[in-house]
Subunit: 185 residues, 2 copies
Amino acid sequence: MALNYPNKKKMVHKEANKANLGMDLEQMINDSNEYYLNNNIAVIHKKPTPIQIVKVDYPMRSKAVITEAYYKTPSTTDYNGIYKGKYIDFDAKETKFKTSFPIANVHPHQIEHIKRVINHQGITFLILNMNGLFYLFKGEDFIFYVENTTRKSIPYSYISEKGIIIKENYRPPLDYLKAVDKAYF
Amino acid sequence: MALNYPNKKKMVHKEANKANLGMDLEQMINDSNEYYLNNNIAVIHKKPTPIQIVKVDYPMRSKAVITEAYYKTPSTTDYNGIYKGKYIDFDAKETKFKTSFPIANVHPHQIEHIKRVINHQGITFLILNMNGLFYLFKGEDFIFYVENTTRKSIPYSYISEKGIIIKENYRPPLDYLKAVDKAYF
């Protein structure tokens, strides 16, 4: 299924930490993953954006050029890897809403994927950027809410109660594995 | 780094199992992963092909069209996920050579990645299609060879000695998790 991907990257201006000023959530996570990798803490990568390739040109003596392609809906979360011998799997989401997080921000395929990972004893969560804070929101708490309500969004009160605050840093910009330690180890 | 990706999919004709006739290695693995997923055995996905997007058009009232993009070198292996609570990570390779497997078939980034996964206690291996057979070739055996020789290719005798034969099937087409069981559980 091809999708309209509008301007995906939203700038997140954080007064809390000038080092990260203007750095978007994806970049903060990628930089953190690079830090974890280089310091032998974890091996976690962002999956490439899924693309449906329709047309490729092979100009003579030159590299292949994709000339028609479309964004596809991701069938899993964006990030996965290994930490302390455990399978880690998560996605990053942000919302400008202050009182609740729209469940529709997580694709149905991703919800299904999160359930499966829980079922197979993996560590899975969302990193939520909301009200100027970053939360590790456990997959278990997310799925519990989704399955036990007919509401289309999760109240911020539930997120701030269940979520674990992820501190912003200089290096790594977002030390989410500290929150993973608190939540799972 | 942009790469020239020639015709990546090579047809693999297998006399051993007519059901898989004409099915390429990637397709066999994808179908096996789907089988594992649907039968609640494992959650393993192929990562999307990494693409460097250069130009995107946004036609009015229509979905975004990528009009210029290039293939990038993968920085990890193609497949990962979770099985029996363990992190699983592998790549699929095939060669037409009969006596040895060229180490250059595995990108330096992928070799580095395999080492890291071993270091973090993950399960990592190559699925090698060679001489009409499919082998699970453990990351540990692969890295051992790469680090203890100056040769540019791995003799088939080493692969057939260390590797575990993966049987072809109707469903799943390539039951590689049986070989994982033998090698790691």
